[in-house]
Amino acid sequence: MKRWLAVFVVLVLVAIPVASFVRSGYYNVAATEQHTAPVYWLLEAGMNKSVKARAAGIVVPPLDDAATTTRGLLLYEQHCVQCHGAPGVAPAPFALGMMPVPANLALTAREWPATELYWVVRYGIKMSGMPAWEFRLADAELWAIVAFLQTLPALAPADYRAMVRDAGASKLTVATQPHVAGHDGDNAERGKHVAVRGGGNAKRGKTALQQYACVSCHEIPHIVGADKAVGPPLAGIASRPFIAGVVPNTRANMVRWLQSPQAIAARTAMPDLGVSTRDAHDIAAFLATLR
């Protein structure tokens, strides 16, 4: 009798509210909106723990010969750069619209051991967009990718370009060419937007910057999951006198920087993400609130 009472109480207190929450459609599944902080942390912690537990015991083969790394680079250029980008190279436009946004792997490779990189490449991650490569690539190829990933943290953008050139990888993909799909299309439009939208809309900018993978490289206040240390943290960016340490931090320069960083700092690892003029103004307006 007591047991049935307990079941009944649990049903009333937990199951029914959960069921009505799900049925209400209250939770937003749109990829333009990050998970709420508790859900994000739960998923992130769960993913980390899961990978760690399952990768334990994997034996790493020797990975440090140049041929393996080059093989890995070619595979990376063929299968990975479209979503993850590379030093100084933006992901393809479709990947910028993904939630979660694909990780910057220079950071991942700094922090994750080879066993865990291998596990993720091989098995993928549910509901993250990361596919499993187990049935697409041979085991030696999976390890070659891991070998290449491990070189990423030490590669400057110029080093990466040189590696791609030397390996002849650029023939395989167009991903290393700066893409312009996300830009406004014609430059006449760009000028017009500047005139019309001088101020920019900070609220819209906050949403927009989550659609250009800013969060995969920068720590950004008020954005759930934006805790990555590839580039500098953006807290206080509004009161910093320089952008990228090279140009004065004016609104016009920030817009220019967001749209074509490599035109301002030729060696920067920040890629051209195809930011439209309207989006650049709105993102700059949001950044201006970070004092």
Binding site: N104, P232, G236, R267, T268
Partner: protein, 117 residues
């Protein structure tokens, strides 16, 4: 409390051990002095350095975790030492001036910065 700290670490993904060994404590202390001597804090916010609240360059909290230095080269110990000594040799465009730090001082500063995770 320990459980709480563990939970926080787990949430932030800190559990994935970072590479590199902790620098020797002596050079960390020397680094702290060299940072004060060369006035790094006038342009950078640096944890553990009194008065280092500048915001001309990027804050150095967590600099040891950052992938790139000045956004242009990989953040390795060797590169950090070279950068501290002569930043404009690495990026001619940078606003960061030559600090005049000796090799030994730059090494010590890099050792201190390596502790800022």
């Amino acid at each position: 409390m320990i459980a709480l700290a563990g939970w926080c670490a787990a949430l932030h993904g800190c559990e994935h051990s970072a590479r590199g060994e902790a620098p020797p404590r002596d050079s960390v202390l020397e680094g702290r002095l060299a940072i004060q001597h060369h006035g790094c804090g006038a342009c950078h916010r640096i944890p553990g350095i009194p008065g280092a609240i500048g915001n001309t360059g990027p804050p150095l909290e967590g600099i040891a975790r950052r992938v790139y230095l000045a956004g242009v080269i990989a953040n390795t110990p060797q590169n950090m030492i070279a950068w501290i000594r002569a930043p404009q040799l690495i990026d001619p465009q940078t606003a960061m001036p030559s600090t005049g730090a000796s090799e030994a001082e730059a090494r010590a500063i890099a050792a201190y910065l390596e502790t800022l995770r």
